[in-house]
């Protein structure tokens, strides 16, 4: 809640007059500055600002190692290359190129994310040289057999959730905003809600809790090893998803990040997927 009035009244050492002027001006300007300080609007505003800071990188490439662990501790690894392009008026374009396991090597997943409409998605199957459109509205399916669903790894368009600021809390030793978001397209999400911890200093997501359709805690995703690129963009290099109901976990280790590599829309055209190696 916007609590500047309460804080103002406690600041007893201010001269009365000055306080009055400040109070008057704050009463006028404050609501504008922290426009709509309901928990919903505060949550949205924080997420908007975090999104603004995340964006503007143009394009990015990176490599990704996915480490899947089952309850017995058995480990299986997958490797991918990721390419992402920002578009001015729409969601991101992204390519996931599968490098291992060997039998799916060369498979490419292309996503045209949209802000409010369902995303468009194609899969390139190298054995058949076939580019197949896949139904992408429901995103609750597992990504490569991992604990991540398509929903979890997709760019999180702000417009697809409603938000509510819950509280402030310490998280990974940092002051954090705790925000709840609920998918607007309930039918095609695997979750009723998610709770997100965002650090106050850099507005980086540090943790997400996923609540299933029965509203019980399903998974927790922890973001670690944030590094700064181009003096401006924080990116996590270690994301660990733990499924509390199955005991399985999936870890994403990111490396070889590069930004502004000169990717264009044509690199994300389904017509051109066959030439990716």
């Amino acid at each position: 809640m916007c609590d500047y009035r309460a804080r103002l009244s406690k600041d007893g050492h201010f001269a009365m007059k000055r306080t009055l002027i400040a109070a008057t001006v704050a009463a006028i300007v404050g609501p504008v500055l922290c426009a709509g300080q309901t928990p919903e609007e505060k949550g949205l505003a924080i997420v908007r600002e975090a999104d603004r800071r995340f964006k503007g990188y143009g394009d990015a490439i990176s490599r990704l190692r996915m480490i899947l662990r089952n309850k017995q501790g058995q480990v299986s690894e997958r490797e991918l290359r990721i390419r992402v392009l920002e578009t001015p008026d729409d969601g991101d374009r992204s390519l996931s190129i599968f490098d291992s396991p060997a039998d799916v090597k060369g498979t490419v997943l292309l996503t045209h994310a949209h802000r409010s409409e369902p995303d468009d998605q194609w899969l390139y199957l190298p054995a058949l040289e076939r580019v197949k459109r896949i139904a992408a509205q429901n995103k609750s399916g597992s990504f490569m057999g991992s604990e991540f669903s398509y929903e979890d790894i997709a760019t999180q368009a702000i417009e697809k959730y409603s938000y509510q600021w819950l509280r402030d809390e310490t998280c990974q030793g940092q002051d954090c905003h705790v925000i709840e978001r609920r998918p607007l397209d309930k039918q095609n999400s695997g979750y009723t809600r998610q709770i997100i911890w965002i650090d106050k200093e850099h507005l980086r997501t540090l943790q997400i809790e996923y609540y299933d359709r029965k509203d019980s805690l399903l998974k927790t995703l922890t973001f670690q090893d944030y590094r700064l690129y181009l003096d401006r963009f924080w990116r996590p290099h270690d994301m660990n998803m733990v499924n509390h109901q199955t005991g399985k976990s999936s870890q994403l280790v990111w490396f070889d990040y590069a930004f502004r590599t000169g990717l264009t829309e044509n690199d994300f055209n389904q017509h051109n997927l066959t030439r990716i190696r």
């Binding site: 922290c34 505003a45 690894e77 090597k105 076939r130 139904a135 509205q137 429901n138 905003h177 106050k200």
Partner: protein
């Protein structure tokens, strides 16, 4: 005085909305040039830096296969079962400007069928890419189409039918391809200078008609035979949820007519056999996929004019996927498709599917082993003709994949293509090492 008030005000406003401190922190000027990591935080030391000029790779598989047929062979010369070894390595080099060279040879050695012991160059091409256009020349594979069971519009490559009865395996096609992708869609122009003949099982092989197919003496409508040039022009475009493609093909028909040798030459004294006849055709095609929620709607249609009467054929249907089936991680897909062919299914075997319904069930448990199961059922709506297929596979470790295919040809009235292979029900087991 004013300044102090403003300062107080600023503090108050910030105190009221603490997260605004963050937002007030203006974005710094954009860094120019290569990305800079935070000092003291280099990329993972174990990982090599990305190559400068380009990247190359050697990938592919070797596989051992066994096919077990449930019934005794119907025709003289055929063997019961067969085993075979196959390999398909791929070497590629991709320059940093996007240009690609790739070489993918294929070979199979079969214990029984000398026709199935064969090799091919699946790919051997150079692909030069500029931002909105590209040129490719060499041997390549191109897939067009939307549906799952029958591929009507896929016309560029010849079917390597001796490989598998499902017709999904294709021979490399020599081509010069020009492509452009701009806002209003993608245009592809193909010049195909050399024709590849379809492969068929030989005398010893199963899954063939009663008469042997004499692939060594194929005949052509065009006197230039396999050297007759083919041309294809395709336009494709995506409109949001809809992928559309349409093309014109002028060239040698990939589907041969199989003509009895003694029909062509009454004085033919050799054993009765079938001769593939390749006509010249002009073909128009259209394919579309529309995604709506968890539904995919698919359509393929062709109009073909050649040596025989012109005709239209079409196939279409829908696919629905239950994601996270029953609250778990599995995806379950249902496919229903129908095929229509104006020619009907006549005894000359010009078409196989004329009025047929296909039902499919796809199971993807999304497990570590990458298990996949696809079950199919075909029913001719005019004749009591039907067949069942099951394709299942899973990975072992990081490199091995075991596949099991089951094909059952249940009912087949005479003069139907399946009639010839009615006793060729089989199970195929393949173990492949991928690298």
């Amino acid at each position: 005085m004013y300044g102090r008030t403003l300062a107080v005000l600023a503090v108050l406003a910030v105190a009221a909305c603490p997260w605004r401190i963050a937002s007030a922190e203006k974005a710094r000027p954009e860094a120019v040039g290569p990305q800079t990591n935070q000092p003291g935080e280099p990329n993972e030391p174990n990982e090599p830096a990305p190559a400068r000029k380009g990247r190359s790779g050697l990938t592919g598989y070797v596989a051992a296969e066994g096919r077990l047929f449930f019934h005794d062979p119907l025709y003289a010369g055929q063997e019961d079962n067969n085993g075979s070894l196959a390999a398909q390595p791929e070497y590629y080099y991709q320059w940093n400007n996007g240009a690609l060279f790739t070489f993918t040879p294929f070979a199979r050695v079969d214990s029984v069928d000398s026709e199935r012991t064969h090799w091919d160059i699946r790919e051997l091409y150079y692909h030069y890419t500029q931002d909105w256009w590209s040129v490719r020349f060499g041997m390549a594979r191109v897939f067009w189409g939307a549906t799952e069971f029958v591929h009507l519009v896929d016309v560029i490559n010849q079917t390597d039918l001796v490989e598998h009865i499902d017709g999904e395996d294709k021979l490399g096609q020599p081509m010069l391809q020009f492509s452009s992708s701009v806002d209003w869609g993608s245009l592809d122009i193909f010049i195909l200078p050399y024709f590849r003949e379809r492969t068929f099982p030989g005398r010893e092989g199963r899954l063939r008609p009663e008469l042997e197919i004499d692939t060594d003496h194929a005949i052509y409508e065009n006197r230039d035979k396999e050297r007759a040039k083919d041309l294809a022009i395709r336009y494709s475009r995506t409109f949001g949820d809809l992928d559309l493609g349409t093309y014109l093909f002028i060239g040698t028909n990939r589907d041969p007519l199989l003509v009895p040798a003694d029909y062509l030459d009454p004085n033919d004294t050799a054993d009765p056999r079938l001769i593939p006849f390749y006509e010249r055709v002009t073909q128009l095609g259209l394919d579309a996929t529309w995604a709506s929620g968890n539904w995919l709607w698919k359509l393929e249609t062709v109009y073909r004019k050649g040596y025989l009467d012109p005709y239209v054929a079409a196939t279409g249907g829908l696919e629905y996927t239950f994601y996270g089936f029953a609250g778990g991680k599995s995806d379950v897909g249902l496919v229903a498709e129908y095929v229509y062919d104006e020619r009907g299914d006549d005894p000359e075997m010009t078409s196989i599917f004329d009025d047929d319904l296909f039902l499919g069930l796809r199971l993807s448990p999304n497990d570590l082993a990458g298990t996949q199961v696809l079950m199919g059922f075909m029913q001719d709506l005019g004749d009591p003709e039907n067949a069942v297929s099951v394709e299942a596979s899973r990975r072992f470790g990081d490199h091995w994949r075991l596949s099991l295919d089951l094909w059952l040809f249940l009912d087949a009235p005479e003069n139907n293509v399946i009639y010839y292979i009615r006793d060729d029900d089989f199970v195929r087991l393949e173990l492949a090492y991928h690298f």
